[in-house]
């Protein structure tokens, strides 16, 4: 597909590809190379990408429920990342509170190290029950050369609890993906293995790369427990600092989000020899496979089969109902990264086909998985921008668009049914029961009577020239 909006932006061609008849990738510039990804954004192209700070503070560090979430920088970074992502836990300190060193001009000129140290001391005095202080560095404090690592070390001695310094300044990397990496690496280096607990961990696993969006954990934690396994540490949805410290004791890591969290699984394999398996905790086939693979590691295959059979029977009536309502619909999925390939199979199980797939920060391995699963003729776009998204919605007319909050209102203004895949409309969507929620939301989006009203009753914008005191007709 040639994008009209990219007439003057030839550099976008290598980020757009079709799945060819031979199953290969046909790139927009005519070459047979694979789709280009994880490279800098074209300036001014209206990208949807965020920054490294967002990936670290918002995604990986933010869900830790008993850490003081302290941004070292100006106020905006802390304000915008506060309390909008529903990474829930069994307590809400991490969502209700945000802390910031509030750098002003004087601090920028004379350095912010002293102020940062004071902030850490004051914050931990105000909230003595917090188990650690997480500090996220920003563009300005990095540029003026504040040695946050050193401040963190000093502070740790003064307050007697871990002070974790994330070097996640916004300009690093090409997208929020770098922030995930920094988050993994820092938590691993500073927390994991810092305590050696007694106890029997032989039937324990860590779930890596689930952030408990709208309580996703509730849809699969009990399944693993029913198989006979205990989740020791969840990285990082509904997790405490103390649980992060002992995660090296689990004999197996189960990796769900393979973009934002494979890093820590790799590091744990290298340092502690902990093996990991890749799973998808969405959809029937994938969730079943996840339980089977995990159980096989512990020799609990029979229990897994029992759980799967019981759960599938439970959701079957719901699935049957929705499948006949969703059959044959086409989907455009645009997510951060892995959810795209996690969901192609799930949507197929509901009778729907993904005809366009796009990610904000996917890497090569994400696109490999996407291409493998898509049907011939499907379109793939890396790091799509505003005009491209509008053109896809207008020209390819998907029956459903699955994306995030920013894109939602574009879809609505164009009359395209939409489900929020980032933070869910009414989640959770994971596991077996979550899939029925997902199907219910899709059904609601597709079959809401408003679309019929729009088709039959919407009118064009009045031909008028807007002036500040009203509307004047123009020729």
């Amino acid at each position: 597909m040639k994008f009209t909006c990219n007439q003057n932006l030839p550099e976008r061609a290598i980020h757009i590809a079709l799945k060819g008849p031979d199953g290969g990738c046909q790139r927009g510039d005519g070459s047979g190379c694979f789709i280009a990804s994880n490279v800098p954004t074209t300036p001014g192209d209206m990208t949807e990408r965020g920054c490294t700070y967002a990936g670290c503070r918002g995604v990986v560090g933010g869900p830790v429920k008993d850490a003081i979430q302290l941004t070292h920088g100006p106020i905006g970074c802390a304000f915008f990342s506060w309390g909008y992502r529903p990474h829930l836990a069994d307590s809400d300190f991490h969502i209700k509170y945000t802390f910031v060193s509030d750098m002003n001009e004087t601090n920028i000129v004379f350095g912010g190290e002293k102020k940062l140290l004071q902030c850490i001391i004051e914050a931990s005095r105000e909230f003595p029950d917090a188990r650690a202080v997480f500090i996220y560095n920003t563009c300005s404090t990095a540029l003026i050369g504040d040695d946050g690592r050193d401040v963190a070390k000093q502070a740790e001695e003064l307050i007697g609890k871990p002070v974790v310094f994330f070097e996640c300044e916004g300009f690093r990397g090409v997208s929020q993906s770098m922030g995930h990496h920094v988050g993994n690496e820092t938590i691993f280096r500073q927390l994991v293995g810092s305590v050696e607990p007694e106890g029997d961990f032989s039937r324990s696993i860590n779930i890596i790369g689930d952030y408990n969006i709208k309580n996703d954990l509730r849809t699969f934690e009990y399944l693993f427990e029913a198989v006979g396994l205990k989740i020791l540490t969840r990285f990082t949805g509904n997790v405490s600092v103390d649980e992060l410290k002992i995660m090296h004791k689990a004999p197996l890591n189960v990796v769900h989000c393979q973009r934002s969290a494979t890093y820590i699984a790799d590091m744990m394999r290298d340092k502690y020899g902990t093996p990991y398996i890749n799973v998808t905790l969405w959809g029937i086939k994938n969730m079943s496979q996840a339980l089977r693979d995990t159980a096989a590691f512990f020799g609990l295959e029979a229990q897994a089969e029992e759980v799967i059979e019981r759960e599938l029977a439970r959701i079957q009536p719901g699935l049957d109902y929705y499948r006949q309502r969703l059959q044959g619909k086409t989907v455009f999925i645009y997510q951060g990264g892995p959810r795209v390939w996690h969901w192609i199979e799930l949507l197929r199980e509901l009778g729907m086909e993904t005809m366009t797939a796009a990610t904000t920060f996917g890497h090569d391995d994400d696109y490999q998985k996407i291409f493998r699963q898509l049907k011939e003729g499907a379109l793939v776009v890396d790091n799509p921008n505003g005009p491209e998204i509008e053109e896809i919605l207008r020209e390819r007319r998907p029956d459903l668009f699955i994306s995030g909050n920013k894109e939602k209102y574009v879809a609505y203004k164009m009359g395209v049914p939409f489900v929020n895949g980032h933070t869910y409309d009414t989640g959770p969507y994971a596991g077996f029961v979550g899939m029925v929620n997902f199907a219910r939301d899709i059904d609601k989006a597709l079959h809401a009577p408003i679309w019929k009203t729009l088709r039959s009753r919407a009118r064009p914008a009045p031909v008028a020239h807007h002036t500040s005191h009203g509307f004047e007709e123009v020729e």
Binding site: T42, G76, C77, Y97, I108, E122, L143, N405, H466, S468
Partner: protein, 474 residues
């Protein structure tokens, strides 16, 4: 007597404010067909977009020059040049505003110089390209809005103006308000038979309708041509001192357009002052319709006073909004016990002390404050009502106090951007809503139209000096 305190803590915990670029982006949304390029990290565009989408429930587009490590070392010039070119070629906007960030300011990019270079390379580009300084470490979100307005006032208006030449309009600078507020202000001007030139007007661009096909640019907004003619207006009225007040004075100094800087017209006295100013500028009489609306507000204040008199209220937010709200709060017989802002503006605080004294209420004016500080104050000495943006919901939930949502952002309720809190109508709506919040919490469920104390009904507190006070509440 009212007192001023300045919060003395290095760490900000639950701030009430955000940072400068979002103010400039919001103001730029009020110009038809204008596009913002944020010169900095991608997050500096994506975060404010997300925040605005949550408040307005509209598509919000902001371009970014996508600075990375390499550009941080070598300067962001090539990225900004590319961004300007791409935005021009793909959108053909009517104007481009380039706002800076911590990053581009700290590395010292010369944004006006880069824009000049772009215009030299592209003689076909004749639209205005306006640089606005918005590093996050100076001021807050209001600073970005105000800086944008100053740049508009300095750079866009036509300098050639014949003696006595006028466009017959009034420059209206509403400041940081909601689309609904702009609609209400337009209504007042229309009723007065006046034409406003809105600097700027996002009443439709950020509260738009559904049309098929979707227009290329969102409908609405002040046009660049109108802004060019703003030097020929009869007068300028700024309705917020710290957002647009300085821009109004620039119009006076540079173009001889008289400036009127007023308090945000919330409540009876503040709206009267606004309407009186319109009369003074134009000699138009106050029309019947506005007289009726004014009388209706008075009537609402009378009807509700037994439910509101003596209540203690905590307010937080931007200085201009607080100043307007305190007027209405006092008119309703309530005490603005805590008035907290994140700004560090002593002249404002001193003005607030004078104002509260004139109004006969006692307040603690808190500068450089955050919501954690306010929460501690409320825990120590409870209030009956919180007034401010959505982030106060954590205090409201913890303490069981109703929250009246005003200002920005209101992200946990629908349609607040469409409401108005200004003018006689907006004030009447606020009086109703405040009374209803008190009712919801304290009204008897059996007998309508009256309040019944339920159990230990919390923090209501009437100072002993009040004639009907027993110190225990109404």
């Amino acid at each position: 007597m009212s007192v001023i305190t300045t919060q003395d803590r290095a760490v900000a915990i639950n701030p009430t404010r955000s940072c400068a670029p979002i103010g400039a982006m919001l103001a730029n949304y009020g110009i038809h067909g204008a596009i913002t390029i944020n010169h900095g990290s991608q997050g500096c565009a994506t975060y404010p977009r997300h925040q605005m989408a949550r408040h307005f429930r509209e598509p919000v587009e902001v371009a970014t020059s996508s600075l990375t490590e390499k550009t941080t070392v070598y300067g962001g010039k090539s990225n900004l040049l590319a961004a300007l070119k791409n935005i021009w070629e793909r959108y053909h906007p009517t104007m481009i505003m380039v706002c800076s960030t911590c990053l581009s300011e700290t590395i010292g990019d010369d944004i006006p110089g880069i824009i000049d270079e772009f215009l030299e390379q592209h003689p076909e580009v004749t639209i205005p390209i306006l640089p606005v300084k918005t590093p996050s470490y100076i001021g807050n979100h209001t600073t970005g809005f105000d800086n944008f307005l100053k740049e508009i006032a300095n750079n866009l208006p036509d300098r050639r103006k014949k003696k006595g030449e006028t466009n017959g309009k009034i420059n209206m600078i509403p400041g940081w308000v909601n689309p609904g507020d702009i609609c209400e202000l337009k209504h007042i001007l229309r009723e007065m038979g006046l034409h406003g030139l809105w600097i700027t007007d996002y009443s439709e661009t950020l509260d738009g309708g559904y049309y098929e096909p979707r227009p290329h640019f969102a409908r609405g907004g002040t046009t660049v041509e109108e802004l060019r003619s703003s030097s020929k207006s009869l007068a300028t009225i700024a309705l917020q001192r710290y957002i647009g007040g300085e821009a109004a004075r620039i119009y006076e100094r540079r173009y001889g357009v008289p400036a009127h800087v007023l308090t945000m017209p919330i409540g009876l006295a503040n709206t009267d002052a606004f309407v009186d100013t319109l009369v003074e500028i134009t000699d138009h009489v106050i029309p019947e319709a506005l007289q009726v609306e004014r009388a209706r507000l008075l009537d609402a204040l009378v009807d509700t006073h037994m439910f509101t008199t003596g209540l203690r209220v905590a307010l937080y937010g931007d200085p201009d909004l607080l100043e307007g709200l305190v007027g209405l709060v006092a008119e309703m017989g309530m005490t603005p016990a805590y008035v907290l802002t994140a700004a560090d503006t002593m002249p404002w605080a001193e003005h607030m002390v004078e104002l509260t004294e004139e109004l006969g209420v006692e307040s603690e004016i808190i500068l450089k404050g955050d919501l954690h500080e306010l929460h501690k104050r409320i825990k120590a000495h409870p209030v009956d009502l919180l007034i401010g943006h959505s982030k106060g919901k954590f205090i409201a939930d913890a303490e069981g106090i109703p929250l009246l949502r005003v200002g920005f952002p209101v992200e946990d309720r629908f349609g607040y951007h469409r409401r108005s809190i200004v003018g006689y109508n907006g004030s009447t709506a606020l009086v109703d809503e405040i009374t209803n919040l008190i009712f919801e919490r304290r009204a008897s469920s059996i007998v309508s139209n009256t309040l019944v104390e339920r159990g230990v009904e919390g923090p209501s507190y009437v100072p002993i000096s009040l004639p009907n006070g027993n110190g225990k509440g109404i």
